[in-house]
């Protein structure tokens, strides 16, 4: 047996291996020396350094070649590298935004950093998965870390409740996904994503069983993205979780979920596009409608942003369902690059808007209600302007990145012939504009209730400002990011 063993090529997975080693090292460090204050203070910066190192490694090993390793279970391509880089930026930002909030609540424990690192590892594995088992491994590593993170404030009953909900619904979704994967294995006889695609191409797959499995896969993906009717967990978890966890859940995992969608459905089941696009269509319509309508009724900003996420995911699905028209596949590149652009833009806006909640929170005060933003313009014109940028961008008003994300999705959808669906989406983004405008109204038109000065550390102020300016600059010069997304996909498809 041993003679047949070929050592796998480890270089494509170098960033993941680095991250894992560092996570283990930090784990040991915190386990054996947690009483020393000095070491405890080191863990935060060490985690940041790990992420930066991981990003540097990803960047250095980035090339246009697609390499498969670990018996074709792991793929290293440009798509993966690009998404991982953005992932690193997003997670690093999350850590910077969260630090003060956690410190004053005595939650800045080593567990937090470790769980974030493992969640990041899970997302990286999901992004680079080329095998159903790898997809599932990454997904579970991410999800389990997130469940624990939501519950990290053990004394808060609200957070515990949110964690329970998240866990139960998440486990159900994982079960559905796993069931779907087993069906597909049954139909094609392989778990490799490339192999599945080949089997379908050669008509070697049992098509009835395939579609049966596909339904479960789509349900699992829908849960991870948070699209209606698999959205139930989003509002409760977004509201109940401590804000830094909401920030984390609301940003980086969307990149991983997007990658998972591409890997499973586009790389694996592209020939069944007609079927999964039809399912996406229903999910997109429902998400856009429900997300925008329900957000109007909210008084809690985190919950409102949760519903807004749902509607954004509807737009993402709108792009993903525009890749194949009949048997014509030449729309695919445009549609998926537009979807990727949308996800990246969304992550940027989501980081900023949850970051604003963290900025205004302080010891004993959670600035998570809409009323907490009242009169912000009088307290800090600069950060009121930043929040206005995030809100307008989410509403899809130019010149901000969110507008161009929406615009390019709508263009792809009209191109694919979904004109009436686009009109529907446009009408609901008008309804959506109302609740984003309401936030601006509170900040600018109303007198402040809370007049405490904003006490945030310099690094957070700078990063949050950079985040806002970034949303504006990527809107003034949208081509760079769009072109990057397109170029990435050209080399990876």
């Amino acid at each position: 047996m041993l003679q047949n063993f070929i050592a796998p090529d480890l270089t494509p997975a170098l960033p993941e291996i680095f991250l894992l080693s560092m996570a283990c090292a930090i784990l040991l460090l915190s386990a054996f020396t947690h009483r020393t204050r000095l070491i405890a203070a080191l863990i935060g910066p060490l985690t940041q350094l790990t992420l930066v190192g991981c990003a540097v490694l990803t960047y250095l090993t980035m090339d246009t070649q697609t390499v498969l390793t670990f018996s074709n279970m792991f793929v290293d391509d440009l798509l993966g590298d690009f998404l991982k880089l953005i992932l690193m930026v997003a997670v690093t930002t999350v850590l910077v935004y969260s630090r003060d909030y956690l410190a004053v609540r005595n939650l800045e424990k080593p567990e937090f950093y470790l769980l974030v690192l493992f969640a990041t590892l899970g997302m990286m594995v999901m992004i680079s998965a080329s095998h159903l088992i790898t997809v599932y491994l990454g997904l579970e590593l991410l999800s389990l870390s997130l469940y624990a993170l939501v519950a990290i404030d053990r004394d808060s009953s609200r957070a515990t409740e949110a964690a329970m909900k998240y866990f139960i619904l998440g486990a159900l979704a994982s079960g559905l996904l796993l069931y779907g994967m087993s069906m597909i294995y049954g139909a094609t006889g392989t778990l490799e994503i490339g192999g599945i695609a080949q089997a379908i191409d050669n008509h070697a797959a049992n098509s009835g069983l395939m579609i049966f499995g596909l339904v479960f896969l789509v349900a699992g993906i829908g849960f991870k993205l948070g699209a209606v009717p698999f959205h139930m967990w989003i509002p409760d978890v977004y509201q109940g979780a401590p804000t830094p966890m909401t920030l984390l859940i609301g940003s980086a995992p969307k990149l991983a979920a997007f990658a998972m969608t591409l890997r499973l459905l586009v790389y694996g089941l592209f020939d069944l596009a007609g079927h999964w696009q039809a399912m996406f269509m229903i999910m997109a319509v429902l998400s856009i409608a429900l997300g925008n309508l329900a957000a109007i009724a909210q008084t809690n900003l985190k919950r409102m942003l949760g519903y807004s996420t749902i509607s954004h995911m509807g737009f993402l699905l709108l792009a993903l369902m525009s890749g194949v028209v009949g048997d014509d596949k030449h729309f695919a590149l445009n549609a998926y690059s537009v979807a990727m652009y949308y996800v990246v833009a969304y992550v940027m806006m989501s980081l900023g808007s949850f970051g604003m909640i963290l900025l205004l929170s302080r010891a004993g005060h959670e600035a998570e209600n809409l009323d907490d933003f009242k009169g912000l313009n009088k307290r800090s014109p600069w950060f009121a302007a930043m929040m206005m940028i995030f809100m307008l961008s989410m509403a899809g008003i130019p010149f901000f990145v969110g507008f161009f994300a929406k615009f390019s999705v709508l263009l792809a959808a009209v191109d694919a012939g979904y004109l009436s669906l686009v009109i529907f989406a446009v009408i609901f983004s008008l309804i959506g504009a109302f609740y984003y405008l309401r936030v601006i109204k509170l900040m600018y038109f109303d007198p402040p209730i809370d007049t405490a000065p904003i006490e945030a550390r310099l690094d957070m102020r700078v990063l949050l400002s950079a985040n806002g300016i970034g949303v504006a600059l990527f809107g003034l010069f949208p081509n760079m990011l769009m072109a990057l997304c397109t170029a990435t996909l050209i080399h990876s498809m």
Binding site: W382, L410, V414, A433, P478, N479
Partner: protein, 501 residues
Amino acid sequence: MMNFLLSLSIWTPILGALLIFAVSAIGAIGEHSSSQQRNTVRWLSLAVALVSFLVTLPLYLGFDTQATSFQFIEQAPWIPRFNVWYLLGVDGISLLFILLNSFITVLVVLAGWEVIEEKQAQYMGAFLIMSGLMNGIFAALDAMLFYVFFEASLIPMYIIIGVWGGPNRVYAAFKFFLYTLAGSLLMLVALIWLFLESGGSFVLPEWHALKIGMAPQILLFIAFLIAFAVKVPMWPVHTWLPDAHVEAPTGGSVVLAAIMLKLGAYGFLRFSLPIAPDASHYFAPMMIALSLIAVIYIGFVALVQTDMKKLIAYSSISHMGFVTLGFFLFNSLGIEGALVQMISHGFISAAMFLCVGVMYDRMHSRMIGDYGGVIHTMPKFAALFVFFAMANAGLPATSGFVGEFMVILGAVKTNFWVAAAAATTLIMGAAYTLWMVKRVAFGPIANDHVRHLVDINQREFLILALLAVCVLGMGLYPFPFTDVMHISVDNLLRHVAVSKL
């Protein structure tokens, strides 16, 4: 230098506004007293507004009135991924609006000199940004660029109404934003459709040349109509305007009436007519009917108003009805008359709102009933007020007469009864404007508040006098205005006369 004029006219006020924000932020940290701080902001704003106006003057001086094509063209790739260009250029139709806009912005800055006490830097900055964005709308020759400016211009106006507006400002700000956004989002779908239909281009002159079948033309026309009719505003989607006007601060009302309403009308000339000419002819009777309803019915509505700002708002809708009427007559008198009417209405409505603003600053009331006999205490002001009211009613020798007369002449060529109905505006306009002036300015002094009014100061006199000169000048000698637009209008009419089917 000549090639960057349009960019300068767009970005000077916007960058200037950012500079003002920065200066006021630094001032807030420093030890400056607030009055010193306010002075810096005011003078800086005026300087920015003046420079922005001055850079638009060479546009007029260097404009070739004989050329049929767009001038001062600037072209640079903006979003190559979707073939969107940073493409600017003006013709005789858009040129005057850029000048008007930059001119009005100077007046708005002057008008907000003393009245605005809260967040003055933001107030001035918002108006300057809006001025730049609106110049962008008039200069854009790429449909996406147009759209982006068109929507972005809502943001500063929303803030202006909401922060510095009257008691019901929040409602008005939302209504303004959502109404306009509703219209423009459907236009976005139309733009995307045209992009795909034209083989991947957003360039307007290419769209003008594009052959389109009747059914899509009708749908396009409707999509554009919804967007622009809301903005004009045409009856029956006009209801946001009185609310916005009443609640907006004086400067906001001025910019709304003088420039923002023109964006919709301009859209008809740039999009609806040249892109869907057959549908435009098909819908012309409906458009004329809607315009006449605006002229006559809204004229009656204006008559019964008790709030001066609301009255002028309704009078604006009625006057804009004249503009849309002129467009859909499809003759050069009609369209030129409509354009003259737009410019003239820019001056007159700005002046009327400034007059109301002058009184409001002193009395904090817009109600006609609270006034009476203002002429006894404010003679200089009353003279100018009466003059602008006459112009609003379309008195010959004022600019208000020129446009209306040309449109009525154009209407006679098409249909006598349309002309007759349109001509009632001269009676209606005189009725509601002069009756208001009679109740406000003339008669015995109504109460003690009026008795203690102080006449206008030099700054206020300067603003109103400048506008009076424009109104009178344009009324006596409209040639410099019509001369610029003549070739472009003829060109447009030739284009619209050819079927695209």
